[in-house]
């Protein structure tokens, strides 16, 4: 190969080409030297253990898992009126340990920045920073502008120890009126922590230094709202949905980097509920119960309105009197149970009719005191003649009921307990009442082991067993619908996020009669006499032109193991035909009614009447 020489060159120099080649070689040696230095540094990193397990920790440090719960589902009434909704907002929280670790100058600077953004004085922030907790909210529900400013500062690493977390709050536009049925949620206003690796959540005071956000699932972004009580609890899985699982990749300041968030798992979106409740009726009932509660100085008042055929609950409300103040109870409408008193008489009479030991033409001398075991039952009222079963119910004669029960006892003998308990179970008593297929209300029956000579008599007049308002209303619905036991329903349907029905609730079809339709209708007629007949205990519930049926019940309260003479539970369960195909069962219950107004006919029947008047005037939408 011919090598060409080029240009002029100085005599002292090597030839131009040789010189060029030498220099090029030197450049190659420089490159070689650089490669060697790179290899040395790389070998220092890769072949020695100088970094230890820092590489592994880096991976962990720059990841933050987050469970982002969706906004909890809404609850609306049967007409679409909003009853509960959730709002998401941003909260500025402070890690006092981390803030205290800053120099005073830097801390001051940080607080001044926060003051300019949030308007909270530096002194207040200083006070907060002295608190010995892991995380403390500085301001909740900050504006979008403030949140974005703080986010920007955090991204620059300007505000160490200040976190921006998102929280949810549950709003109930109808407030106390819906509280007893909806219940409440917990967790909306707490910053909760949960550990991502299944270890125990770390209690804040164990944390000595800075708050290790990167080690924890940042649950605060999805402060879980758990329903406690009522619909919120029963339908919690539907309403809450499940969280979207995110992994944030953090920057040098351990802030999530934009575009570095990966969704690991997609959660289920929450559903909304359509209740059977009519909120306007609910509000009327609530106001009425509150008013009457303070009038009578009772400790608890409950009202339940249910459709006798579909089981849809139109209103359910409970309130209690606490130190002279009426308070809406969270859950009493579901959970309270008590001895119903005379309200149970129609059930036992129906049982006697079914067994054939009593007929409509039978007459009973109710002036006679009736002795069972060591207990004597005697009516306070005196009667001019022997009473028929219808009249026994109308005047609510204990003596008459006991005589009927004695007929059963004398005929059934040893099988009495089993038969009676089985009948009561058929009426839905003695077992938890399902509301939308979820057992929630309690009822207890005496166990056969504790069966005594007076137990049947006590059961007949509504003692020695407990029932919730829903149990009684449900059993009375059987009289109105021909002996079918309907289960109460509070939720009509569950809708997905697009408003399409996910699940629709209805009674299990076909409903089987729990007791004889013939005698159910008969007892329904008898119950009409309670309201319409002269001397009937439920006269105050009567409305002219309407075939109202119902039964009063007054039971003594068990106080310290003894039945009190001063404190009573007053009950009225009535059946109101509103329209041709719509019959409502209305239960009114007051607990601890003081003497002087202890008759349920005086206390509860007028309440029933007012509710009935309202329903007739307004109708059901």
């Amino acid at each position: 190969m011919k090598i060409l020489a080029f240009g002029k060159r100085s005599r002292s120099d090597l030839s131009g080409r040789e010189s060029f080649n030498n220099h090029v070689d030197w450049c190659f040696y420089i490159a070689l030297a650089l490669c060697v230095s790179i290899l040395l540094k790389t070998s220092l990193l890769q072949l020695t253990d100088l970094l230890g397990n820092k590489a592994k920790k880096t991976k962990q440090k720059h990841l933050r898992e987050e469970l982002l719960l969706p906004v909890r589902g809404e609850i609306v009434d049967r007409n679409g009126v909003l009853l509960a909704t959730s709002l998401r907002f941003q909260t500025v929280a402070m890690d006092p340990f981390k803030v205290r670790s800053l120099s005073s100058g830097k801390r001051r600077e940080e607080f001044e920045k926060l003051e300019s953004i949030l308007g909270i004085s530096v002194n207040e922030l200083e006070k907060l920073s002295k608190r010995k907790v892991a995380m403390i909210p500085v301001e909740r529900a900050v504006t979008v502008e403030s949140a974005s400013k703080i986010k920007e500062y955090r991204r620059k690493g300007v505000l160490p120890g200040i976190e921006l977390v998102s929280e949810q709050v549950r709003e109930y536009p109808w407030g106390d009126y819906t509280k007893p049925i909806l219940g409440v949620v917990r967790g909306s206003r707490d910053i909760l922590l949960a550990h991502k690796n299944g270890r125990k959540p770390v209690s804040p005071h164990w944390l000595k230094g800075h708050f290790p956000w990167h080690l924890y699932s940042c649950i605060s972004g999805a402060t879980p709202q758990r329903g406690i009580g009522g619909i919120e609890q029963i339908f919690d899985p539907w309403l809450a949905g499940t969280a979207d699982h995110y992994v944030h990749h953090l920057d040098r300041h351990l802030n999530p980097m934009d575009g570095f968030t990966r969704r690991l798992g997609e959660g289920e979106s929450p559903c909304s509920l359509v209740l059977t409740i009519d909120i306007h009726l609910q509000r009327f009932v609530a106001r009425l119960v509150q008013e009457k509660l303070s009038e009578m100085d009772a400790i608890l008042g409950i009202a339940v309105i249910m459709d006798a055929h579909s089981g849809e609950t139109l209103a359910a409300y409970s309130a209690s009197l606490d130190r002279g103040q009426v308070v809406s109870d969270d859950n009493q409408v579901f959970t309270s149970s008590f001895e119903p008193g005379s309200v149970a008489k129609p059930l036992m009479m129906l049982h006697a009719f079914e067994l054939g030991f009593v007929s409509e033409d039978d007459r009973f001398d109710c002036n006679l005191p009736t002795r069972v075991g060591n207990k004597t039952y005697k009516d306070e009222r005196r009667y001019t003649r022997h009473l028929s079963p219808k009249e026994i119910l109308a005047v609510s004669s204990d003596s008459g009921m006991i005589q009927i029960v004695r007929r059963i006892i004398s005929n059934k003998g040893v099988r009495l307990s089993a038969d009676t308990l089985s009948f009561l179970r058929r009426c839905g008593l003695g077992e938890s009442m399902s509301i939308n297929h979820t057992a929630i209300s309690r009822s207890t029956l005496p166990s056969p082991e504790r069966w005594t000579a007076i137990t049947p008599s006590q059961l007949a007049i509504g003692y020695e067993f407990e029932a919730s308002p829903f149990h009684l209303v449900s059993a009375y619905a059987g009289f109105a619908n021909g002996g079918k036991l309907v289960r109460p329903m509070l939720v009509r349907k569950v809708l997905d996020k697009d408003g399409l029905p996910v699940k629709e609730f209805s009674q299990k079809r076909p409903l089987k009669p729990c007791f004889s339709p013939r005698y159910a209708t008969l007892i329904h007629d008898y119950l009409k006499a309670v309201v319409s007949m002269k001397g009937g205990t439920g006269r105050r519930a009567a409305i002219e032109g309407l075939d109202i049926a119902g039964k009063t019940g007054t039971s003594r309260r068990l106080v310290h193991g003894k039945y009190s003479r001063k404190s009573h539970n007053a009950t009225f369960v009535g059946i109101l035909p509103v329209e041709e195909n719509l019959t409502l069962v209305i239960g009114v219950f007051f607990q601890d009614v003081k003497k002087g107004s202890d008759y349920a006919g005086v206390v509860c029947a007028p309440v029933f009447r007012e509710i009935a008047m309202y329903l007739i005037e307004r109708g059901i939408k």
């Binding site: 450049c27 290899l39 991976k59």
Partner: protein, 392 residues
């Protein structure tokens, strides 16, 4: 029935007979130069796929597809340039035209460039970004080679040409520095100085060149660092470099994470399942810090292999430069090889903390079409020089 095989055999024979007496395409290709380039492209595809597993990218395959497309397009461009005789660049009007075009593009960048991280480095044309500085690197080598070759050993009147070209180059450097893109400025300065030294420009003239370059480079640096307060991060980078140089446990975010990613590679590399880099711990992991990804995935062995391939490329480029028949070709071959080799080594030095962070790509490997295409153009020109040099 005619046998199919014999038919093809006859066709091949006919083709070979027709081609006899002239060079066949594969005979004109410098395979020793092509092999390291192709190996580096394969490295690049693998690295881009691994880097694409980072959460900031929706799909690693999308990045890989883009990379493959860039390689194919770059290959076409490279082949085209390898077909252009490099002597046609040895034309005063051509040199002036490309210099002015480069200046015009750089000026235009200030007005219509996309602003990213405080710098205007790219144009957006038909939904594709074009980064002129990548191509200007080649123009600078061509212009400088021409200047040196023209003025070498000649008398004073032609000395004027050198001054004009030096001035043009200096303007280019200042404009690039003002964007600011210090990485490219650094590479251009280093390459230019190397070319001057290698060419053994006479003392008087070399003083002129060196003074001009150093003065303008220094002036640019001063303007950018002290007049524009926003660019003080350059000093910060020097501080970081001094802190992290030779220190394994560095506290600086980018470098410390880079170190940890490299360290987790060990000797034979870390399996992708256990790797750190897909967790977004690296900044610019498919461009500036792609070396870390290779180091983690392929370990020390992979790093050594990568460096060997680059050395191979540099060696072959220098070989072409040494044996080229004319001074202009020699300078171009040296300049283009050195600009690619030096950029690659600088990138790796930055990733390993042996040099301040500059923000330059790893040629052939990084994700980025402009870098790859400009490197392919350089390889194409090198191929042409090689073809002219070693043609029988």
């Amino acid at each position: 029935m005619k046998p199919v095989v014999s038919f093809h055999w006859k066709k091949a024979q006919r083709y070979l007979a027709a081609a006899r007496g002239r060079e066949l395409p594969w005979q004109t290709v410098d395979l020793a130069l092509l092999a390291p380039v192709l190996t580096l492209c394969v490295f690049g595809m693998l690295a881009v796929f691994w880097a694409g597993l980072s959460p900031q990218f929706s799909s690693p395959l999308a990045l890989l597809r883009a990379k493959v497309a860039s390689v194919l397009f770059g290959a076409i461009v490279g082949i085209s340039f390898s077909r252009i005789d490099y002597h046609c660049y040895e034309d005063r009007r051509f040199q002036l035209a490309v210099s002015l075009a480069a200046i015009a593009f750089l000026v235009l960048l200030f007005f219509v460039g996309l602003e990213e991280s405080g710098a205007n480095l790219r144009f957006l044309v038909f939904n594709r970004t074009i980064q002129p500085t990548e191509y200007i690197k080649i123009i600078v080598v061509l212009v400088l080679s021409y200047t040196i070759a023209e003025t070498y050993g000649k008398d004073l009147p032609d000395y004027f040409i050198g001054s004009i070209h030096s001035l043009l180059l200096s303007i280019l450097l200042v404009l690039i520095a003002l964007q600011p893109d210090y990485g490219v400025v650094l590479i251009l300065l280093a390459t230019s100085l190397s070319m001057l030294i290698v060419a053994r420009v006479r003392a008087r003239r070399s003083i002129f060149f060196v003074t001009l370059f150093v003065a303008l480079g220094g002036l640019t640096f001063l303007i950018v660092c002290f007049v524009l307060a926003k660019d003080f991060y350059v000093l910060d980078r020097f501080r970081i470099f001094l802190e992290c140089f030779l220190v394994v446990d560095c506290k600086e975010f980018q470098l410390s994470n880079g170190y940890k990613v490299i360290a987790s590679g060990k000797l034979f590399g870390n399996h992708i399942v256990n790797a750190i880099h897909p967790h977004g711990v690296l900044p610019m992991e498919c461009n500036d810090f792609i070396f870390c990804v290779i180091a983690e995935e392929m370990g020390f062995v992979g790093v050594a292999l990568l460096l060997l391939v680059y050395l191979w490329f540099i060696q072959r480029g220098f070989f072409v430069a040494k044996y080229c028949r004319d001074f202009f070709g020699q300078l171009i071959a040296f300049g283009l090889t050195w600009i690619i080799g030096f950029q690659a080594l600088l990138n790796i030095l930055v990733a390993t903390g042996l040099f301040p962070i500059t923000g330059i790509t790893l040629p052939f490997v990084s994700h980025g079409g402009n870098s790859l295409i400009s490197a392919m153009i350089a390889v194409g020109i090198l191929m042409n020089i090689s073809r002219n040099t070693f043609k029988t």
